[in-house]
Symmetry: C3
Subunit: 351 residues, 3 copies
């Protein structure tokens, strides 16, 4: 993979940017970031990071010279490397990473000749619209947007500034996206919800005429689905992170700065608070309310509302300590059956 | 979102259509449906519904004047609103919703100039085929169909009358769709099944040369997958509802009027009866038979055949009452361990 | 579905090819394979297979004359059929199936006029590139490849020889595919991983600048997702089988000849060994190591590393015998509670 290192910064500039303490040569020029475990030669002008103490021999032996390291008592800053010392190394590395590899954003207008854009659609400039995109009547694509290729933006939809839509994304039925959203390849926003009235054992589709609103700085992963509301709004608030292959049903609300891992499913009208973390394959029943700051561990099942912020696990979820206590106790269950049988026998013998 | 209210009906006409008892002005004209909780002003000509008793103060205060309400003893039909009283309000609302927002259906022929249609394909009229659709040799698209955009219909496939295919749908390898089916964006029908013979620890793909047959009035959700049969037919019967992100493996049969919620997975050759309801993230092992009328709650695991219609839950599934009894009992397990230990100590002391 | 039977072989040739013992007419010509349960008439020139003993009356009555059957003591080879006797019938049938229905492979160059191919991309011949494919700068598509339609191959990506990409596949961000890979419709390779640094309760995307490498003979199912590494490589080794709707997160490694069933999810940096089998809806936490030859049954949760090859089940996983013992014991839990209560009462009465 050809990398282009157009960007360069000195270590002193980087230290200032992230607020790190520098042990080493501030004038040294950095042209890219890397994981030192994948660099076998060169690497003089790359920056890496390490979350653990500096005891990793292979890091010391790697050709990468500059490394972001955590604040640690008695750290041994050996010569031959430059160290940027900071508490949250992962965050610092992401900040520098965003400088060297910023999110895509249109800075000049390039609309591919194959794009099919309705005459009533509003396309602000600068914008990049790749091959085989289709943009419907009265839709709006705001300035700075990048529609990579094969993107479908339906009638009346709005895409906010600097938002990226990867290939095979559908934005449907009047969905409204914010600024700096990133919608991964194959994700579908504004999908027809699973709304079925029933009579005499047959389903009748309840019209799904609401919309999806996605606020600013939201990321939606590949092949995930967000259903539009039956009548009102499915609402994804600012800063939310949705991983791949996730189902968000009609009329849900996902509170600001909540993160949800892959293959989770959220049934209709459930309201998840702000700053929650949801593990992979978690399922939520419909019409629940999950309070701000809740953490739900992977594969759990949330079957009733959560009113206290805590770490939850299990099916149905319980506070994680209780869930683990039960899980451990259940491994002793076959033995317990024998012990109770023995007790019964002893009592029977006694009497 | 610009709404177009081309349709209008009087309350008396609506009451007649759904078989409701009208308390109010039958000549009042309705031009659309709504959720009253999302209407802050206007709403004089909108119809809403309420499943609960009429004690909701905000409904009474909302500007929406006409409301479908359930039959209730001693209901207090306060003035200022028009009431349509009926037992199954949800179904009645869906019926009216279908009138105001019918499923898309081609009434005139519009084939986008970019559609790539093989010369041997049969395209009945009227039909709507949007941009960047590809239709293969010997395929048939029946009258009334709407292929929105970027739809791939493979060689030999058949799409029945008035069926809708949303963007990025694949209909593969001779799949046969019925009339009035609705295939959501990104759904894949006729996919290569996971059929792997093994020898000396290596896989060999078993040819998957069967097909998928989907009967009439089936809805398949966004990004769901239906594998074609290894040799025969994967069969989805009439009226089935499949939510988003669902996996239906090769040679399965889904019985008529069964509904399956998001992220469920059905392994190969499993046969699910008619009028079943399957919750989200449920998994079925392969080669099972699930009888008509079974209800499987979300996240359950069905590992053997089900022969009695009932409500099931758990992993493996049990009748729900039993499953709940076990779930509740398991929360007492850590305490039970202590109690048994205490009993043992008492007996040891006694002897 | 019109079938074309261009291929023909005699039973003697087939017997030699798969190493079977022939009971019947070696000169009889076979033109196709089938499942006998789906053949109501004709079938004289079709070959079927049966994994069970020859007691199935309907097989005997079916019009299909030639059948691969397992080696069984005292097998009753009744007249009217030709029998190919072999131990692993399923594998033998797959071998013959691959002859009659080989994987697609370009033998002459057909590039659709609508394909958008960057001038710096390298396209080897022969190759088939269908309508509405987009191939980016510096990408390479090797000889023998089939890109069916609507395929997106990003800048710098490499697709190895004889590899098939079905409609709506994305190959992103420098991903490298091997030879004879088969990427199912809607699968996304090289997806942006779920890498989020956090500060003050807000997420910051960690740049995902690594790649995905897929070795030879790998199959990826429809709508599955493989994230590129944060900085290094997400690595899928040779012969791996990935079913539909599977999530493989950044920096994972899937060992050679491992098979993973639908809706499984593998969190970041987890390393799964060679020759493993993973059931549907299984979840793996991140940063684990699963040893070669492990079998994980469906819906299990792998929360810590696995160091011994065995069959595992449960959440968290345990060796399957232990998991089943616990599952069975847990069904007796409500009863156990009563028994312990009774014991306590008896002791209280005694004392």
């Amino acid at each position: 993979m050809a990398k282009i290192f157009a960007m360069k910064m000195t270590l002193a500039e980087i230290a200032k940017e992230i607020g790190a303490e520098l042990h080493g040569d501030g004038s040294h020029v950095i042209r890219g970031i890397c994981d030192w475990r994948w660099v076998e030669e060169g690497g003089e002008d790359l920056l890496t990071f390490q979350t653990k103490p500096l005891t990793d021999k292979s890091l010391m032996e790697s050709p990468v010279r500059s490394v972001i390291v955590p604040e640690l008592p008695d750290a041994d800053y050996r010569p031959g490397k430059d160290y940027l010392v900071i508490k949250n190394t992962r965050y610092a590395f992401a900040v520098i990473g965003q400088i060297f590899h910023p999110m895509p954003r249109a800075t000049q207008t390039r609309i591919h000749e194959t794009a099919v854009i309705h005459e009533t659609a509003v396309i602000e400039e600068p914008v990049e619209i790749g091959p085989y995109c289709v943009i419907g009547a009265n839709a709006r694509v705001s300035k700075g947007c990048v529609l990579q290729s094969h993107v479908y933006v339906d009638v009346n939809c709005v895409v906010g500034e600097d938002t990226v839509l990867e290939p095979f994304v559908s934005i449907l039925q009047g969905a409204i996206l914010g600024a700096r959203d990133y919608i991964g390849t194959g994700a579908k926003i504004g999908v027809t919800g699973f709304g079925n009235a029933q009579k005499d054992g047959r389903f009748l589709q309840t019209p799904q005429i609401g919309i999806v609103i996605i606020e600013d700085d939201v990321h939606i992963g590949a092949n995930s689905c967000g259903d539009r509301a039956t009548l009102g709004v499915t609402h994804i608030e600012e800063g939310v992170r949705i991983d791949n292959l996730i189902q968000i049903a009609h009329n849900c609300r996902i509170g600001a700065h909540t993160g949800i891992a892959a293959l989770a499913g959220i049934a209709g009208s459930t309201d998840i608070g702000k700053h929650c973390l949801v593990g992979g394959q978690v399922g939520f029943a419909g019409h629940l309310k999950v309070c701000d700051g809740s953490v739900i561990m992977g594969q759990s099942g949330v079957m009733s509302s959560i009113t206290e912020p805590d770490v939850y696990f299990g099916r149905p979820v319980k506070p994680v300590k209780e869930a683990h206590r039960i899980a451990i106790a259940s491994t002793r269950l076959p033995d317990l059956l024998k012990r109770v049988k023995a007790l019964e026998a002893r009592l029977d013998n006694d009497s």
